[in-house]
Assembly symmetry: none
Homo-oligomer: 230 residues x 4
Amino acid sequence: MNERSFINGVLKKDRTISSRENRNDKYERILEAAIKVFAEQGFYQSTVSQIAKEAGVADGTIYLYFKNKDDILIQFFRHKTRQAFEGFKKAVEEGAHALEKLRNLIRVHLETFQEDRNMAVVYQTETHQIHRSAEAQIKEMSKMYLDLLSEIIKQGQTEGSIRKELHLTLVRGVMVGAIDEVINTWLHSRIPYDLVAMADPLVELLIHGVGASRKPENPEKANRQKGGKR
Amino acid sequence: MNERSFINGVLKKDRTISSRENRNDKYERILEAAIKVFAEQGFYQSTVSQIAKEAGVADGTIYLYFKNKDDILIQFFRHKTRQAFEGFKKAVEEGAHALEKLRNLIRVHLETFQEDRNMAVVYQTETHQIHRSAEAQIKEMSKMYLDLLSEIIKQGQTEGSIRKELHLTLVRGVMVGAIDEVINTWLHSRIPYDLVAMADPLVELLIHGVGASRKPENPEKANRQKGGKR
Amino acid sequence: MNERSFINGVLKKDRTISSRENRNDKYERILEAAIKVFAEQGFYQSTVSQIAKEAGVADGTIYLYFKNKDDILIQFFRHKTRQAFEGFKKAVEEGAHALEKLRNLIRVHLETFQEDRNMAVVYQTETHQIHRSAEAQIKEMSKMYLDLLSEIIKQGQTEGSIRKELHLTLVRGVMVGAIDEVINTWLHSRIPYDLVAMADPLVELLIHGVGASRKPENPEKANRQKGGKR
Amino acid sequence: MNERSFINGVLKKDRTISSRENRNDKYERILEAAIKVFAEQGFYQSTVSQIAKEAGVADGTIYLYFKNKDDILIQFFRHKTRQAFEGFKKAVEEGAHALEKLRNLIRVHLETFQEDRNMAVVYQTETHQIHRSAEAQIKEMSKMYLDLLSEIIKQGQTEGSIRKELHLTLVRGVMVGAIDEVINTWLHSRIPYDLVAMADPLVELLIHGVGASRKPENPEKANRQKGGKR
DNA sequence: GATGAATGAGAATTCATTCAT
DNA sequence: AATGAATGAATTCTCATTCAT
């Protein structure tokens, strides 16, 4: 940090931060409250009043920070989620090869969702809705995640750790679905357990499959897939 | 019974059947209309009036066949879905060994959802939403599917086609998630393609995994995690 | 009864009665059912369907015998009630002098209402409503009763058994109100008792008042009323 | 506190009061409007929209002050009516002996109802209707009034101004009924007259009865009642 | 005459959003 | 900026009445 940026830092702190932090603070508070309420009741069954109450602000105050109710969900995907994804990206970058990257990704993903259960619920719930105002954000988010995975898979195929003949989209789908469902199972489980502990077994499963033998048990099928004779 | 009354009898029968069929017909018509509307707009954004219009009946008629709006969703899960699951069950029974059963299950599942896109959308969407009233049905449905899968997996482990050391819940979760996501991808895809064609590659992937290497070089470790250094 | 009318009677019985009685029968059944339902829930909270069910007929059948829901109430006042009043009139006629007539009236009134509790409830409840379609009937009914009383009172004043200086309307009002309230008390009482037994004490009270002393306890007031020293 | 903030303080106070008054004001306004509408059309034939219009507020505003339509009626009995009854109680307390108390009660009662005709109509009408939700309030109200009367009657019997042998419930019933009917007659009369003027004649009538002679005109009856030979 | 499915007008109630303070 | 009372459009649901069978 050079002098300049140091001063800026101080000044910012002095001047703006207090008010900006207040602003941010209220924005965050409302967003957090909304996520909690959404997680408990679902988006459509939640009312703006409930969110306001949970956030400790007046109903009208919500509209100083969000355009409307839909906008809260949009911002959730834009900020909360994007923020999470920055973490994902970083974790991936820290992996040396594809499989390590995959493992890192899944680990942080599970960690992040375990740490913020409400976020996890809202994410899992509202992501499956179509035809909504937050659609664009969801798609964008989804794309970010898929792109992240795509890169890993492609790298794995280049490196030889992932079978080259597999169709990218399918592999990606299986991975996404599997991760999703592991989280869902955890969310709906009556008895609490450590979600992150599922990361490594999950990765192992994705890589080696459930099959007991490496050889396709069924030659015809294997031919059909052209994935068999290895 | 003279000829006259015999004819009357027949006519009456005709009338009765047609009217009974009408009744059934209307129930089905409304349910089908509702599914269409739900698929297009989501449950909460759909109005009873829209459903009535789509079904070609008056608003009040809906309430002759369904207790309230929620009940329509409940009946969807109770009837439409249960019906589909009967098909799943039969397909599974027709399989000789575990892997064949799995393949059969996934095939009919994809077939069924491909054939009734609206049903697929509503199923995928509303299953992930919070529906206090339909919760019981969704849980029951979900359980049926999971039980079906559990049986297959256990059989596979007995038969030796599925690794014995894998945790049932995790395997099941990965399978369910993968299938779900394959359907979701298909539903959201802009370019239409044959969903059923995904069945065999999907099964292959689930069984053999994405990994290129034959065996986990270190069985125990591989299972646990640390399966990387090969 | 001459021969002619005897034959008529028989014929009527033979020919018409069966169908007319059926007709009458259903009319009565519906009316009775309606009164029961009205008594239990009040006019506005009762539905035509409930009445139909109680009467054991289809909803639509109601409209073959009554113009609409309001009409049922109107007919209640027109028939059930008029019928009761015929009995009242007869009882009054059987009295020799005014006080006996009064006693007779009150006795039959209480008897009739005790015998048909539902009728009593509906009568007491719906009579106090204003602004309804049955208004005309209620007024007519009410007038009949008031006229009956008026005649008795006037006769009593002529006979010397009722103070001449009392205002007819007031006396009538007090009598009507007192009877009404005695019935109401009985209707709302948790412990059942014989309503008719109240008749004589009630009459006694109306005639002699609650006061213990012969003379008005308060001369001035007595003067004001000119009803005191007798 | 400087002058400025002092002024602000005052202003705030002003504002607060005015706003609090507004709040109260609106509650009262809606309640008053509702009573007017109920008086004109009866509870069940009145719509919330009509009340809102009469009160000059939006439909939704009603629900800021009342839980639902029923609640308006409940509050009517809880507030408007209780308020009236406080006045009754006070008037009774001001009477020296039983008969004076009775006269006072009846006078204020008639006064109060004459002054607020709508209240009188709603009271007389809805008290006799079946209102599941308002039942408790009506009962409570009714009990207050009956208790007031009971005390007076018992005192009168102690004092010797009311015949000891009379049954409390009957006496009370006759009084309540008579008062009720006097009010009803006034409410339904086409030609307007002074209701309060009925108070004294009514009391006189209740005390001395309608009978011209103090002696029971009919010995048997008198014996039966055991109210005769005094 | 009898039925009861169908209708649709009408009512209560909710709630996102606005705006005066 | 913050408030929260007020709004009124929108939605669900009921039920008297009709009418084809």
